[in-house]
Symmetry: D2
Subunit: 365 residues, 4 copies
């Protein structure tokens, strides 16, 4: 139960350290007969690549995805899809000075406590590069969902203290600026803020929002494996995420039942809610509205300012982290959020297929 | 994959509808040789009982737990522990008027979409009574943890807009007032607020905070099954919860790396953090500090004010919910949060036992 | 991972000791809308009841099944189905003399080694009564399969050295004689044999054969979760089973490719095999032929003849087992084999629903 | 739940088709701090290589294993171990003539029924090459077990009708002859037999026996996940295996309780059984004796003699299979049986670590 697997019917197993031979993922449970090629994966991977703006590390990661199994003549075979990205730009020497030090805000100390030792080169398994497997698998899930008319889109809702007002969210704009912020005005302020922090050897956090369109009602399991519970786990499992909320989230705590309940209405013969405080989920099951959730991302812990810490020999010392690091993890985490959302929804859509006996009989008879 | 199971090594399966024959849980994976009796369970169940104050429903639920298996001569046997609570106070008639209506904020509509029909009596499986199985199993997990010196304690941090300031949290006081609020001053205001809302046929939400003391470092799996990710799923799977955050949570999003990183220091020969913005978890693995997280609870959807809705025949109508309902779900949810926290930590403690080869060899040789 | 769960999509968790409060099962994953009542369960349970002939123990076990959840107005709800059988005929005193002794052929010693102690009353969790949960759940699975035209039927193929020749198998006769043997001539010899062994304080084994009719091709997963591999696990998990084979089984080892390969032919527009050495499975996936497998059942270990053994204090001694025991476990195990077969096939049928993308799209669009 | 994963705590996911980019495995759950290098894997892989004698296909498969993750400075890190073997000798043209034909005894037809189409080149996922992932992971498990003094050894017990008598089993000899037969006399006859069948365009089956030494008592879970049940699934999931038995297996069915029960005795202060009809497992839990089981392997279905069959367009036809095939699968399957045994035992050893509360407390306190 070492936990590098995610999902139950659409199940992935990721692997890889930042400075080992490579990283990748095995997708077990993708149905047969779906079109898939390496470009489908690469488009997603390119979105998490560093070095694309002043706000992310200047490291160059080639990150070319190869599909080694599970696809034949352009279609998935129903067998496991193995995707491999070999590590190329590995400058191990950059990290030699911190091999024994516990970087504050990082998993160095906890890895040592758990495993007795760790791969100190670039964070090893706890590096941001770990998300390569998630994103590659998420690309497969996104392709799956697209065929069903379902789409997950994430963007930055806030950078540091600068938040996009709900009514100004412009998803198209988010795709065009290096911070992935969903509003030009907020972008102006946030980019100055981020630049100043970076120059001062400091870093910033932010909030990522994600919407899922095209969901039919009925998806999610009613008790432990609620759609929102599974999304929470999926998103909170991303490195720097410290909070998750669905719909009105924490704001709902100070609301009242009369305000927070979404009335049902009939529109064009369909049952719809006239508001969406619930964020598209009731009782853990999708209600047919847009699903909307947010993730709180902490500031990058790798900063060049000196910090107090201890080393493996239990000596107090200080640490200055050199090397190439993102002053902001939010822009590169946006596609990771989308990937995890797609993986979660795909799995629960498949799980839902056995919910009704009449539908199973239709399927087989 | 119907999702009424939770945990992987310490695994529970809950069952039961609010108006069926009963509710219960099977705990599979509790180790042999642990003292356990029905009182251990009952103490927890009694804390989630309704009818204990003006702020919770006047329904009387006997909720007597019986242990039917897995315990022999006062000790667990290592075999599944089946705990059953029979339903006694079932007034099905109260619900007959809403059999066809979709209550706003409830899972009526989504259950119908998923399963084709539903048990309309008192919410069936989506009733708050579903938590009986969680709490009974959580009592077993809490007993397990206690033997290791680990303890989870939850309390209300906020009711509606009234929030207990961090520096005023008084856990002992929380155990003594009917709102489980951790501060007498906040209690005064919040109780007036809750009383007024209830009188107006409305309801309130709030925030539950939970601390876990006694954790050793190294617990949690580093990728998908991070301790905070598993806690997030556990807590978000509780009926009315809409948000989850660990440590500084959403506040971390507007912080900076310098502020948010917790420095490591040596104290009495131990590695400790001089602050705890992380909430006791780094890279998904416990760091030895206190674990602290919060859950946002939405206002009870069952309110007596009239609301707009539709029925199963797709006719627009309105609905007035009679019957006995909590104007506030927070006080009764506190023990559910504790239970889910205990279940999560127990499972991850067990999973961690295979992390190191030298320790496995010590175990067997 | 304590292992009292079986299945992945159609998942059961059994519980209970022979002399605890009761035994039962939670079925999680049964689809909504299937007719189900307590009689469906009872019919199966009655077939495993003791005291029905001279060949099984004279113990009287009432074994009345109650459904406590998951069924509403005669139909399954899609929520967990909890089935409970309370223990009534418990004469603990019968077992007091063997509390410290390790019965040869039983799990007394291995339980003590694993758990540090054990419920010595009647075998506890390793008692034959453990199968009550399996059979109750198997009855639900059999109902599920019946609606799809699939049926599993088991019978005794051999008792001790007396084997029913393949060409003489008479399933109807098997349902009518106390040994469940599928041939009257073999029954005559076997019943004399069994009677003599019982009189001599000894016991007999046998072979159970099971056929599954109505399978469509395509069921089973191609690598680890092959239909025959899952059946093997299911059947080998039954207490006294020491061997499993599918189709020609061990005979295939001494056959040749030319003899053993089943030619494909067209019959009435359908692809059929003109022989069935494979037993209805190719590459782990059903091929549309009848599935046929066999289980080897060891002789009942509880015999009244004196035997050499040791006790918990590591003293050599001898043991004479009194009490009421089956001289033959085969007749009562027949329904357990059917139950396990039904559970396995149901689970794999459900799992197969996500094998093709076009069918998933048809399902949802 | 596509089924390319095996194990629960020590969990592997295999992938790869015979003519895709490669094959491999991800091992998730190997503890940290164990020595491991590519040679450990290669030694196992080399034993399943073809082209090593007249009795196996003349195909040359390079099959060089690369470890891409999970090992740092010669030790496992506790993170997933990805092992990749690239496909090199791929002559797709050999298979073009059978792209539409259903080979008798193969999974061509069942794959088409399940997935709608299949990779017809060399069997795709149902090829014998699928075992590469199993064997590579099995090498890791064998290394794990070796450190605990546990060893699994398999050999051919029979080829066609020629069986090694129990008292003549010579494990050392089995490692030296191309049929892996455990007795020189049986080898003489069996090699003539196999040679004649191959010359006649036919093929042979056989029986593989496996012994596991060094097991301590207490391993295995008592109900569904019995050690013998898990071994049965593991072994029956290997391509050509049609039967499994533990200890006396099918012979136990015609034995009596008095003969079959193994008496317990004290030897040198240890509890031992004076015979081992049980095969080292009682009630699904290891009893400290040698574990011994057998697998029945069917004759290779790929034979060059002409056979009747049908094609994808449902036309009757005949088929002659050219290309390079093993006239005997047994010799190459021996290491696969060892690998699956090692994987099963490793997983259950890990699962057993949470069986007792006192041992968990010792571990943590």
């Amino acid at each position: 139960m070492a936990g590098s697997s995610f999902g139950s019917v659409f199940r992935i197993a990721t692997w890889g350290e930042s400075h080992g031979g490579g990283l990748g993922v095995v997708v077990d449970g993708c149905p047969a007969g779906m079109s898939l090629c390496e470009d489908d994966i690469q488009i997603f991977l390119d979105r998490r690549k560093p070095g694309q703006s002043e706000f992310t590390t200047a490291r160059k990661e080639g990150d070319k995805a190869r599909i080694l199994s599970g696809v034949f003549e352009g279609k998935t075979e129903g067998t496991p899809i193995a995707i491999v990205v070999e590590n190329t730009d590995q400058r191990s020497k950059d990290y030699s000075n911190i091999a024994k030090l516990y970087r504050p805000g990082h998993a160095d100390y906890t890895f040592d406590e758990k495993y007795g030792f760790r791969d100190y080169r670039g964070g090893g398994r706890s590096s941001g590069r770990e998300t390569i497997g998630r994103v590659a698998a998420g690309a497969v899930a996104a392709k799956f969902l697209k065929g069903l008319g379902i789409n997950a889109t994430a963007y930055a809702k806030a950078i540091g203290p600068y938040t996009v007002p709900d009514e100004k969210v412009d998803i198209r704009y988010a795709a065009e600026n290096p911070l992935c912020l969903a509003d030009p005005e907020t972008y102006e302020k946030a980019s100055v803020y981020a630049r100043e922090l970076a120059a001062a050897g400091n870093s910033a956090g932010g909030i990522i929002e994600c919407v899922i369109d095209g969901m039919r009602p009925g998806i999610g399991e009613p008790v432990f494996d609620k759609l929102d519970a599974e999304l929470a786990k999926a998103i909170m499992s991303i490195g720097a995420v410290k909070g998750f909320e669905i719909g009105d989230g924490f704001k709902a705590a100070s609301s009242t039942g009369l305000e927070n309940n979404d009335p049902f209405r009939m529109v064009d013969g369909n049952i719809v809610k006239s508001s969406n405080h619930s964020g598209g989920i009731l009782g853990g099951i999708s209600d047919g509205s847009q699903i909307i959730f947010r993730a709180a991302v902490k500031p990058t812990p790798s900063i060049s300012s000196p910090q107090l810490t201890v080393d493996k020999d239990r000596q107090e010392t200080d640490i200055t982290i050199h090397g190439r690091h993102d002053p902001l993890v939010v822009p590169r985490a946006v596609v990771v959020v989308e990937a995890m959302a797609a993986l979660t929804v795909t799995d629960l859509l498949m799980r839902n297929m056995t919910a009704r006996y009449d539908k199973i009989k239709n399927f087989y008879i």
